[in-house]
Amino acid sequence: MGSTRRTLLAAAGCFAFARLVGAVDSFGAIRERARGQKVYFNHWGGSPQINDYIAWAGSELLRRFGVELVSVKVTDIAETVGRVLAEKTAGRSEGGSVDLVWINGENFAAMKKHGLLFGPITPLLPNFALVDTEGKPTTLVDFTIPTEGYEAPWGMAQFVLIHDTERLREPPRSIAALLGWARGNPSRFTYPAPPDFIGTTFLKHVLYATIDDPRRLARPAEPQTFEASTAGTWSFLEALRPYLWREGRTFPANKEALHQLLDDGEVDLSMAFNPAEASSLVLAGRLPPTVRTYLFETGTIANTHFLAIPFNATAKEGALVAIDFLLSPEAQARKQDERIWGDPTVLDLDRLEPADRARFERLERGPATLPPEALRPVLPEPHPSWTELLEAAWARRFARG
């Protein structure tokens, strides 16, 4: 029964899609229909820099295409996923309140699985042709889930560690070295409590370093063999625990809290998913100017964040025009500028016109940002099913008090 419903939903989606796109509609026609539309863009609103960037994009969209981008700031995009779910529960299959969302990973997997997304959208976007889908394979595969065009890549992310050179000159450069260093420097390290995103990502790095066979991580996790294959992970984390900040009895809530602990001098390491985050925190006065970033020698996890349109969006054409603009070399270069946001581009610079490429080449990097060639090696995200088992197993061991 469930599968019949899914098929029906998919069919309904295709129908709506065909109606929107017409037979061989050009993007010009979409732009025509987008003019005058109001696009409600739900996004995490915790960063003033990002909010300012979105406000700039909004003013450009209005000026160039007559599309009004309305920023809806949320503390957690799950609130928006819940909203779309509530609308579907109430039977509102069109005229929805959300036109555009900023998501990735598990949120995307959930929305896709439950038919909450409109698409595929990427074949409609002219600027999608500029995306570096070969050099940056995560633009097509979101946490091992193929996007199948239901979301358009917006920016790149890679896990980096942050240390204050003033207090810690030589940081531990591997998971194994981390344990040795922590033994010699008790209570100078901690990680955000999973299921916080950064905390879980740290666990994934431990998983990569300790699992019997890392190739397993590309496939769905098997609950039956999970404990056996991750035995090393847990013995590592248990060994690390007594040397953690507050002896591992409590953990910071998120990376913001961890940055604060680093700034306060309570710990010596922090973590981020944006390679330029440390530099922009220095600019904002939230970390000392002596901080630098680095990767584990064996590499760190990289992923991509995306833009998507809910299945019942009211202004689908407007949302498409907005996404295409946000993928343009001009918008992407501005986004990569650390004085603006510092979010790495998804575009392939080789495919750009020289003038557009120059926009990127002109950008300066902050002292705490690694050059692109230093952001290697790259580890892929494990299959999302690992996340859940990992978080549950961590909670059983570390969060029962």
Partner: protein, 582 residues
């Protein structure tokens, strides 16, 4: 009066509260038993409950919730009682009264952040001690987010004590206590013991619901628990929050079961409280040792409670203009107004919407509450009015969203008003219930004898007498509306940016300077409105040529009882004869 028609007066308030609450509850109840067809879950079952009880952190989370909820309620009550008992009739009481509304206008989230700035290992207290102890790094002590939620309990207690104190002082004004206290003292009881034996039993009926409201708030507190509570595991409310925002949508079933468990804990505790109340009712004499202990706490508490709140405010201001403030610096470097420069345009954009929404919500909730209070007493029905206070908001929001979409009210002003009305009405009712019950019935009777209809009686006798509590209720309702984040977003869908939606999003970024500005911006509007509510009746009285000096210190109802308390306290139904030993 006791006709069927006048019972209809209850209907607007009950509809306003029960329809959204009922829908919210249904939206929680069904998924908790495995029913959420949108996710392909259409089989009734206990699966979510099994999953809930299998959660490794649950036992500890429930324990932490009970400890911080009950602990903070008891501590807040103790502090408020001790302050009231010790300061009764002293000049300090007057000063404190003037300060209380200011303390109450600071949003919970802001107070929690301010408390963290104060007591965290890198906070002001440790910085003051750092030179003495030779610290150049914050000590490795869990003074916030400690595994036993002590910091959370303390912060909640300190935040709620002013609220309970306000309620006690307001109730004490009109019960004509001074004569009885003098009598008890003349029988040789020490002043504090006399207050506990004479005043407390007389005040308790007005105090019971506010104490329960504090308990309900403490059990389901989100903001304070996020800032100050333990993380692994957190309190139950935070566990529910995590499940609600889990990318795995199936976790919403688990979240629903967790929310119901939280509701059940609240109801059980209320039952336990009633039992305790029955046990204590037989107690006629307060042991002198206890009275002495209360007297010892009272003086320092009267300084500590407002001082902590004011220091929190000062720390928020200091952080909002700090360019950097690293441990162990005692003072921030700066001033740096970047955060304010970024925040001010926002303030201009969203303040009008926020103020209008708050005013409109009060304009909806206040008449509905007054109508309900004018209806002949039907205890069971009106006690439902404060049900929303017991429900964890998180759980209730999903059902509310579904209801609003179904009624085609989502993203519309009407839907937003309805959603704010649910959150605001219980508080308005909580503030007004006491004054309404204590109003001397003979005044109404006299007005009716002189030929005034029910409306004229209300407009020309009741409302002028109760102007102070009505204005206070309006101010408190307004403040509650301003503070709504989740509900505003859920009902407004981003169409109505308010101070709360714009600033709470920034708080998620964790920048202390932004948090400082956000908290102050959120506090500003309620502070202004509270000041207005205090100042207005004083102005009106002066305008009428009253000989009373302006009294901004009396937020609740002293003027309202000028007539009734002086003439007829002993006949007032809600002020039973004191249980003095006879």
């Amino acid at each position: 009066m006791r006709s069927g028609a006048s019972r209809l007066l209850l209907v607007p308030a009950l509809l306003l509260v029960l329809v959204p609450t009922g829908a919210g509850l249904l939206g929680t109840l069904l998924p908790a038993f495995g029913l959420l067809p949108t996710l392909g879950r259409a089989e009734f079952g206990l699966g979510p409950w099994r999953e809930l009880f299998a959660d490794p952190g649950l036992g500890r989370a429930v324990l932490l919730t009970l400890a911080s909820g009950v602990g903070s309620t008891l501590l807040a009550s103790l502090l408020a009682l001790a302050i009231a008992a010790t300061l009764h009739g002293r000049p300090g009481e007057r000063r404190l009264r003037a300060l209380l509304p200011v303390l109450l206008a600071v949003p919970h989230a802001a107070a929690a952040v301010g408390f963290a700035f104060l007591v965290a290992p890198s906070g002001l207290l440790v910085r003051l001690l750092a030179p003495l102890l030779g610290l150049d790094r914050p000590p490795g002590l869990a003074t916030v987010q400690d595994p036993w939620a002590v910091a959370l309990t303390l912060a909640l207690a300190l935040r709620e004590a002013p609220f309970l104190l306000l309620v006690i002082l307001a109730a004490a004004d009109r019960a004509g206590l001074d004569h009885r206290l003098a009598a008890a003292r003349s029988l040789g009881r020490p002043p504090v013991a006399a207050w506990l034996e004479v005043a407390l039993p007389a005040l308790w009926p007005s105090l019971r619901l506010p104490v329960l409201a504090v308990l309900a708030y403490g059990l389901s507190a989100i903001e304070a628990a996020l800032v100050l509570g333990p993380t692994a595991p957190p309190t139950l409310a935070i566990l529910v929050l995590r499940w609600t925002s889990d990318p795995d949508l199936d976790r919403r079933l688990l979240a629903s079961a967790g929310a119901l468990l939280l509701l059940a804990l609240g109801l059980l505790l209320i039952l336990a409280g009633r039992l305790l109340e029955a046990l204590l009712a037989g107690l006629r004499r307060v042991p002198l040792a206890l009275a002495a202990a209360v007297a010892v706490i009272g003086r320092p508490a009267a300084v500590l409670v407002p001082a902590v709140a004011l220091v929190e405010l000062v720390l928020l201001v200091a952080w909002s203009v700090a360019s950097s403030w690293r441990f162990p610096a005692l003072l921030p470097s700066g001033p740096d107004f970047t955060a304010w420069r970024a925040a001010l345009p926002l303030l201009g954009e969203v303040t009008p919407t926020t103020a209008l929404l708050g005013a409109a919500t009060v304009a909806l909730a206040l008449p509905a509450t007054i109508a309900a209070l004018e209806a002949p007493r039907s205890g069971a029905a009106t006690s439902l009015l404060w049900l929303p206070l017991l429900l964890p908001q998180l759980a209730f929001v999903f059902g509310l969203q579904v209801l609003l979409v179904r009624l085609d009210l989502a993203e519309r002003t009407a839907g937003l008003l309805l959603a704010h009305g649910v959150m605001v009405l219980p508080y308005v009712w909580l503030v007004l219930r006491g004054p309404w019950e204590r109003l001397d019935g003979r005044l109404r009777a006299a007005a009716r004898c002189l030929g005034a209809g029910p409306l004229a009686t209300l407009a020309r006798v009741v409302l002028p007498l109760l102007a102070r509590p009505v204005l206070a209720a309006a101010a408190i309702g307004f403040s509650v509306s301003v503070a709504q984040y989740l509900v505003t977003l859920a009902a407004g869908g981003g169409r109505f940016p308010t101070l709360a939606t714009e600033t709470m999003a920034l708080v998620a970024g964790g920048d202390r300077r932004r948090i400082g500005t956000a908290a102050l911006m959120l506090a500003l509007l309620p502070l202004l409105v509270t000041a207005l509510a205090l100042w207005l009746p004083a102005m009106l009285e002066r305008g009428r040529g009253s000989a009373r000096p302006s009294a901004p210190s009396q937020l609740l109802g002293k003027g309202a009882n000028k007539l009734s308390t002086s003439s007829s306290v002993k006949l007032s139904p809600a002020a039973p004869p004191p249980s003095t030993p006879s």
